[in-house]
Symmetry: C2
Subunit: 113 residues, 2 copies
Amino acid sequence: MSPPPAAGSLIQPLPDAFDAEVFDALLDGGKFRLLRIVSNGQATPEGQWLDQDDDEWVLLVAGAAMLLIEGEETGRGMVPGDWLLLPAHCRHRVDWTDPDQPTVWLALHRDAG
Amino acid sequence: MSPPPAAGSLIQPLPDAFDAEVFDALLDGGKFRLLRIVSNGQATPEGQWLDQDDDEWVLLVAGAAMLLIEGEETGRGMVPGDWLLLPAHCRHRVDWTDPDQPTVWLALHRDAG
């Protein structure tokens, strides 16, 4: 008999993320890493871009956010259920997360190439 | 400039899954596969167990379900946000999914190490 499977909830309970975003590793697959990110109104600092060496598939689980992709004129509003695949070095920034509720992300990072 | 990132929603629109569950591949990472599953009241046939060669991390995105793990006396009720890591060959069955609404799963299959 295998041991009982690990289990949990992405949204209950939530950590206090008022001071800073909270990152929790969920699964490591060698070539990928699955994690939950909880934001509370945080955004990428003005004028900065996020530029990653790996591909990131990101799902908005709860809350609301606005993402900006370099070269795109309008931001991408994200509501629960929305996902985005950010290829490595696709420069982007989190322009806004809802300050009035926690925003929960599920992020799957995949080694590029 | 990289091409615009692929994007979508796990819950809007939803396919018609009344006749059978609908599987949509989302991402393939060589060592893992990410997919969405939409159920509409389907369950594992009576007396059958699911037994997989790979590990499966599964998240209930919307709807409601009851999972049964072999050897456990009570089922595991799953509501949105709940996840479960099913190691390879952890025999389980989907005992029930809500017949009154679509149940949306996100499943990450990882090659067993």
